[in-house]
Symmetry: none
Subunit: 204 residues, 4 copies
């Protein structure tokens, strides 16, 4: 699943000579990029500003990434990895789903929503980025959803063999749609999503 894109690698693999790249610079740049993305958005974000905040230089950035878009893509990539977290066990299927939905809403209302929208265009010309974004939204849920379902099966709330696949697409899909329609992703939405869509779907 490692969505390995063709960006950001020293020219040759086996090369040894010369001063090695400083990974700390890379991290500082990506951090600065993430921060600025969240603060001002993709379009208003300036490579120069990223360099300044990272106490770096444009040259160092362009030595590693072909352009602004790829820098941003990588920044998100890195940010995604440490974001997996265990879903709490609330004692009921509905409670678990609601917790999950609210968590997703919070993320979408924060930086992530902006990122996803900001990258929608880039996705169309970079299939790898698409897959990345996909995993960005799915991976955590994949794990969490299967856990929630199995817990519900154990409780007897769902029949044996209930599949969680629809959850994976319906939940973020509807959230994304709302996001792009400018509608709020609040607790009311979370309840609507769980009671009117997710639970009916799982019960059927």
């Amino acid at each position: 699943m490692a969505t390995e894109t063709a960006t950001n690698a020293p020219p040759a693999e086996g090369n040894r000579a010369g001063r090695p790249r400083d990974d700390a610079r890379e991290q500082a740049i990506l951090d600065a990029a993430i921060d600025l993305l969240a603060e001002v958005g993709y379009e208003a974000m300036t490579v120069e500003a990223v360099a300044t905040r990272a106490k770096s230089s444009k040259a160092t950035i362009y030595r590693r990434w072909p352009g602004k878009a790829e820098l941003v893509a990588d920044a998100i990539r890195r940010r995604h990895e440490p974001m997996l977290c265990e879903p709490e066990n609330t004692g009921s299927l509905r409670g678990d789903l609601l917790a999950l939905a609210n968590l997703m809403c919070d993320q979408m209302n924060g930086t992530d929503g902006a990122l996803i929208c900001g990258l929608a265009v880039a996705v169309r010309s970079d299939a790898d980025l698409g897959r990345l974004l996909s995993s960005f939204m799915h991976d955590q849920k994949h794990h969490n959803a299967s856990l929630i379902i199995s817990r519900a099966v154990d409780r007897g709330e769902l029949p044996e063999g209930a599949g969680y696949e629809p959850l994976l697409e319906v939940t973020p899909g509807v959230a994304l749609l709302r996001q792009m329609n400018g509608e709020p992703l609040d607790h009311a939405f979370a309840e609507y999503l769980v009671d009117r869509i997710l639970i009916p779907l799982l019960r059927s």
Copy 2:
């Protein structure tokens, strides 16, 4: 319903003298904008390029719209209106839904998908555009969905009082998600959507 934005009106109402605006210019500009949006995306689309393709000039564009974002918003608005069409009656709920899903897939694979993705960023800073995009995706389906449901009820395939609301969000939501993940929106997807998600949801 009319998502009235503060764009595009001659300066004063009561003025009379002088050459009136040429509506043909307006249409040419909007057409050019739509074409370019689909071809290169929102960011890469240039006002200069729109003017050139419309055999117009930047001044004419900026005389009518405050900026690029509003021009694009208007372009989509205009394009949306003539797009309503009657859904065919295939004789079964599944057939009707499948026809609808396939139609949506075709649209998303065509210009519309590009448009939607290209506008994702702009939506966040222009609530009106969000609502517009919302109606762009909903209105037609709103009508079609209610029609399909009522026909299914008449046939006895669905119980009296079955709601079509979930259809309106789940269908385009999942499609949009796939779109942004770079996954194909083909007939296999349409069948999956209908059989695994829509019908279970309606039946529950």
Copy 3:
């Protein structure tokens, strides 16, 4: 003598459409360029700085000149024209020559020396610029030298038919050499030039 170079002209001659170029901008830019050239030299002079001082923008500069070198060349071209002045009649050949030599020294010690040295490189790839520089140094002297000689002939200090050509090359040549050797162009040099070189040469 119009050293017409292939720089700085609107794309077509007969074109009429569009906003015409503002000649005041051009003059402001050239003035700023001259000033900065004299202050910091060619290499340290920045196009950005020229734009700022001229209250212009880089775009406007690059719209008119292909690059920094051509801008500088043009700046000097313009500056040259209004620089002719009458040499005073001191009553003796030596006095006249000394006055001329001192004038030249002052010019070379001022902006002009810097200019000439700064352009030495550019000259080699732009023959027109060479001729321009040539006239920049010669024209005035051509006139002045013939005047001084004829006055000396009238006074009987020089024989009839004495040519002034050597003056035209020897005087600025030696000055230029000193300039490039980092040696001072002061009054001692002027006296040396007149007494040891110019007068012997004219007398022979």
Copy 4:
């Protein structure tokens, strides 16, 4: 006479430890610098390119010279030394002067002219470089000129005590001027220089 500039010496005098500097590297670098100077000029010459052509590295260059200007200065210095040559005795003053003038023209038309022009700018901010350039043009002539004059005195072509100083400045001065005016330094010029300027000057 050695115009000793503050460049290019191992850090401490008495140090002994470590690998000694490889003088071959130094020569390779200076050769590369000279070649590139002549090919593309001072401004277009790149330290990186010098390093590449010398199969060296920038660090090795900057370990020995403070910067590009000093490197170039040194390159010229080295090149100058093996260039002293005995002027042939043609049997007459005019013949000797003509030979000298033609030699100078050939040099100026070759690499040296480019070098001198290329360094004109640098001279103004580096007095040592100026003196170097001065000796570059003078030293050889200093020796040759005195030789030619003394031979002419011996032949009786010139009076006892004739000074050669004017030759030293007038000859290269006029040549330099022509060079910067883009005028040819050919045999016609050599004859003009000798017959119209040098001999009259010496005879007076």
